[in-house]
Symmetry: none
DNA sequence: GCGGTCGTTGCGTATGCCGCAACCGATTGC
DNA sequence: GCAATCGGTTGCGGCATACGCAACGACCGC
């Protein structure tokens, strides 16, 4: 808490973080995640600490392979250690564990990219991705937070919540393309339809030319705990919607069954 | 330094880590990645520090969402923050970029041409090539689409797919030389062998006089995302297969590690 | 070549972390 | 039902340790 006269950015929630040096080190990771690359001086300025302090912290992170420097004398960026940790994290989540073989098969059957998402912090957190056979990885979404109202996964996740949670999670509905749903009433109607038909569609709503379809994954209690989606270029998807929806719903059901859904009386009120 | 009477595992490289508390915190992440879950007491024992120290560190990690505690009785495990960081890392991950220095070294060590390929549209797409030291140079394959069943790279890429994808991708197996595999059953057996031994060989199967060997490159999820190969005139390769295979597998492993392939035993409770 | 910037390193100091011990809630044994 | 145990959590004081300072070498651009 020294130099309480930190004039630059007062909005940093510096307090309430137990160990100062660790907190600073982890903040460095977040800075690197945000900026992609950063030098020691830049990091030091962002933390409001001395250059040498930032360097020691970065060096410690580097010793654990969490960051790496681009060249001998260069900037720093996130390292492979992060990916190892992420692999262990994903392996721990039983949703991912159970869903992975199903995702593989779904990706093979449709030829498109398959994703698993969960609700996290008012957005859709992408947990896993299996690339389709068509081509190179279009985009790796894993770890990204994506708006709920502009994606098929998001709609599915929202459809599992009680209606008033909608206002709490999504006070506003920003627009990304002309197709993005921006009116609450329209979104509510859409979610109602998702609940009815058991899947969601998003055509050009997040990105023009990108279409995705998603279905809910339920746990033993019947709650929607995750969402599984198939996505690809609109022109490839739109001609095969029925087939993909069928495969998608089968896959979602399969994962739900593995998680224990349907094995006991479901007590969801109508 | 606390009393390093931690008798269990002496191999901890305690020294040479700049900031002590940060080093300990990051070690906690690694412990959690390895064990899946751990309590404060367990973590403290593993680090050789006091319970309270471990708790502060874990609490700081928790404030950054890198760990989270299970609701019931307060064990800790890796959190979603790790996935966010991984998303930022994966965004810049490029197979070619990560593989290039390794390819260079492999080309120098073997003196032969090294290639990187991925699966694309039912064939092997050559992404990168590093020429060997020999004067006798093959042509540049980069950008070419090459049949999957007649190349070592193709076999490796196929070996990462589920069996029924084979029929979809390769309805027919055209012949290029007398050595080309043209029967599905034979190809299946060959792929099985590739999976077992971790590399593939193709001798005179695409072009008479051309031999290639390839090994799989895997991403964090364990999928085969690319293939790396060493190729050259049959007469030069055939006498050094064991050496080349060893170097090749080392190189493939190195690239896989850079892409996050660090697979760990997960001791999830049954 | 010269000023500016960046990553890196030795050093002294007081800052912030660590170990101690006690607390609390839950679970177990008798 | 009570005591004993175990595991996570918290106040406190001493002292190790992480920090800021300043200087260095390397690089870049004017």
């Amino acid at each position: 808490m020294s130099t309480s006269a930190a004039e630059q950015d007062g909005q940093r929630d510096a307090a309430a973080a137990g160990v100062q040096s660790v907190d600073r080190a982890l903040t460095i990771l977040e800075v690197l995640a945000r900026n992609g690359e950063a030098g020691v001086t830049e990091v030091a300025a962002e933390l409001g600490v001395h250059k040498s302090t930032a360097f020691r912290l970065v060096a410690t992170l580097e010793a654990h392979r969490l960051v790496e420097q681009t060249e001998d004398r260069g900037k720093y960026r996130l390292g492979v250690g992060v990916l190892r940790l992420a692999g262990a994290t994903a392996a721990r989540l039983d949703v991912v564990q159970e869903a992975r073989p199903v995702c593989r098969q779904l990706a093979a059957a449709t030829g498109e990219t398959v994703n698993i998402t969960v609700l996290s912090d008012s957005s859709a957190l992408y947990l896993d991705q299996v690339a389709g056979t068509s081509a190179l990885q279009p985009h790796n979404w894993v770890g990204q937070h994506i708006p709920l109202h502009a994606t098929s996964n998001g709609k599915v996740l929202l459809s599992g919540l009680d209606p008033d949670a909608l206002d709490r999670l999504l006070p506003k509905l920003p627009s990304y393309t002309p197709q993005t749903i921006t009116r609450k009433a329209e979104l509510r109607a859409e979610l109602e339809q998702v609940r009815d038909q058991g899947y969601a569609v998003a055509v050009d709503e997040l990105e023009v030319g990108l279409t995705a379809m998603a279905a809910p994954i339920r746990n033993a209690g019947g709650d929607v705990v995750a969402s599984i989606s198939v996505s690809g270029p609109t022109f490839r998807i739109e001609q095969r919607t029925e087939e993909i929806v069928r495969l998608l719903k089968e896959a979602a059901l399969e994962v739900s069954l593995r998680l224990g859904w349907g094995h006991r009386q479901v007590t969801t009120p109508q």
